[in-house]
């Protein structure tokens, strides 16, 4: 292992982490603004930044937009009293926020957020072409599912550690919900791998670059089976999206939190930065989930124009592809935020019913049908 690899990986890790944290701060802002507009309110419109705030038109506009709000929120989270109630189980109480944030961040490692950047040589050193993914694993999606299933522990542990009834109920609900939707999620992506024939996320994107996005008629329609496969992919896409909502505890599946029933669910006893870490964990998980949707179904960093649908050879194409990935992810984040203010929460039994008796059979049938269609296509 040479030093360039270490340096580049360190830089990638730091950049991805920084972008994810900033993105999560602004996702919170977007959530507040969107909810405000949907509910006929204004949303955060107070915080002004010292120098920029006094620029004539732009300053007040940014203030009205609430652009500086995340900064103040962050400072506030650090300055607030970090209160540990007497009745909690201390060690688990400390551990839970970390465990809930850490899987979300780990998922970001395998997501290819861009094709490659060609740095060429800078200052005499040959940097060459760098793949825009932190860890290019051959079992990318398996790794993701393995890690995603860990995220339930943070919430269950928080519920257990709080040693009071509402967090405990939240933890129990979370464990049941996460497990049942994880199965559906896993089943929904199997057809995608059957199409691609590889578990590497980079390969999935490459397949979509060559054959068309999973949601936009992969295969091009030369064979009748392509249309059937397209329908299967759309079903997969729907199920994966629903399961992603459930996995990230977003409405209409936010039973572990359920403010109206369980005070604040698993994080009731948390305050200050510890609560903020739960919050960040949730939003980073959202970002990771949306990024996974984009990678698996919407072509990742590819754009359906010639020149942008293959691995970038020069720096600018690479940057534009990263931007394309960001825009797609932002779009799905927007959908996730919007849905929160649109649908009421499911009842516990409805949730289980939907997961086990509707989505799981559909996902299983989807696998069989996809297999038959692929067999038909290749037999012909």
């Amino acid at each position: 292992m040479d030093w360039e690899l270490i340096v580049f990986n360190a830089v990638k890790v730091i950049v991805v982490f920084a972008v994810a944290l900033t993105g999560c701060a602004y996702a919170v802002l977007a959530e507040r603004k969107v909810s405000a507009l949907i509910q006929d309110r204004v949303g955060p419109n107070r915080v002004s930044f010292p120098l920029i705030g006094s620029i004539p038109i732009i300053g007040p506009f940014l203030t009205r937009l609430g652009v500086w709000q995340p900064l103040v929120d962050g400072v506030k989270a650090f300055l607030k009293e970090d209160y540990t109630p007497d009745h909690v189980r201390k060690v688990y109480y400390w551990l839970a926020p970390m465990i809930s944030m850490f899987p979300a961040v780990l998922i970001l490692a395998v997501i290819p957020f861009g094709s490659s950047l060609n740095f060429g040589s800078i200052g005499g050193y040959e940097f060459g072409v760098q793949k825009m993914v932190v860890a290019d694993l051959n079992v990318g999606i398996l790794f993701t599912f393995g890690i995603v299933s860990l995220s339930v522990y943070g919430i269950v542990l928080a519920g257990y550690a709080a040693n009071s009834k509402y967090p405990f109920l939240g933890g129990i609900r979370s464990s049941a919900q996460m497990i049942s939707y994880e199965i559906a999620m896993g089943m929904s992506v199997v057809p995608v791998f059957m199409m691609v024939g590889d578990l590497n996320l980079g390969e999935i994107i490459k397949f979509q670059a060559d054959n068309g996005w999973m949601v936009l008629l992969p295969g091009g329609g030369q064979h009748i089976a392509d249309f059937g496969l397209w329908a299967c992919m759309l079903v997969s896409f729907g199920i994966f999206t629903i399961a992603a909502f459930a996995e990230t505890n977003r409405l209409p599946f936010d039973l572990p939190e359920a403010e109206t029933e369980l005070v604040s669910g698993f994080n009731t006893e948390y305050s200050s930065m510890r609560f903020a870490i739960f919050f960040m964990g949730e939003y980073i998980a959202m970002i990771a989930g949306c990024a996974m949707i984009v990678v698996l179904f919407c072509g990742g960093w590819t754009l359906p124009f010639p020149g942008f649908d293959t691995r970038a050879q020069d720096l600018w194409t690479g940057l534009i592809q990263i931007l394309a990935f960001g825009v797609k992810t932002t779009f799905f984040l927007g959908v996730m935020i919007w849905v929160r203010w649109m649908l009421p929460r499911f009842r516990y039994d409805q949730l289980m019913d939907l997961g086990w008796r509707r989505i799981l059979p559909i996902a299983l049938a989807n696998i069989v049908i996809t297999a038959l269609l692929i067999f038909w296509k290749h037999a012909a």
Partner: protein, 186 residues
């Protein structure tokens, strides 16, 4: 008696699709109307002050009577009844003197901890002298915990003069004043 028939949900309805479509419609309508300024959005609170209705029950303050005397006689009933124990009265002791006639004493100190007060109004209800009233302040702020403990002077200045038409001691006071003039004219 009319029996309301509960229809079975159709397959289309059970697929949650109508709920989704309806949800998108409603939220999009509100979103667009608010963002284009068609909806009159809520009050911009600190700039547009809230005008509370008359008889609003906000923070409890001490009041003076129309002769500028402290009405409180330090009976400590409010201190006793206060559920969150926000009121602390220091009575004047044996040599205490009131600043008005018809009163034996007045409080040496009268503190209300506004961080504890829950605006329940028991103090106003229990007060036999009608000396404490829930006024229309509801947003009390301070830089420290000490600052939020309001002392007698502050409470009296915030409470102002009570112009209530009911004057409990007016008749008694008149009689007492009449007795000061001797002999009593028939």
């Amino acid at each position: 008696m009319k029996v309301v028939e509960r229809k079975e949900l159709s397959l289309w309805e059970r697929s949650y699709a109508p709920a989704l479509i309806g949800g998108v419609k409603v939220t999009a309508k509100h979103f667009i109307k608010t963002i284009t300024g068609q909806t009159k959005v809520c009050q911009q609170y600190p700039e547009e002050p809230t005008i509370v209705p008359e008889n609003y029950r906000g923070a409890p303050y001490l009041v003076k009577d129309t002769d500028d005397n402290t009405k409180c006689v330090s009976c400590q009933l409010c201190e006793f009844v206060c559920p969150p124990k926000a009121i602390k009265i220091t009575p004047p002791g044996q040599d205490g003197q009131a600043d008005r006639a018809n009163a034996e004493k007045m409080p040496e100190e009268f503190d209300i901890n506004m961080l504890r007060c829950i605006f329940c109004g028991f103090c106003q209800e229990v007060c036999p002298e009608e000396a404490i009233f829930l006024k229309d302040d509801f947003s009390l702020t301070g830089g420290s915990r000490e600052e939020m403990i309001y002392d007698k002077e502050k409470l009296l200045s915030l409470g102002g003069t009570n112009h209530s038409p009911i004057k409990k001691w007016e008749q008694k006071q008149k009689e007492a004043k009449a007795q000061d003039v001797f002999p009593v004219e028939e």
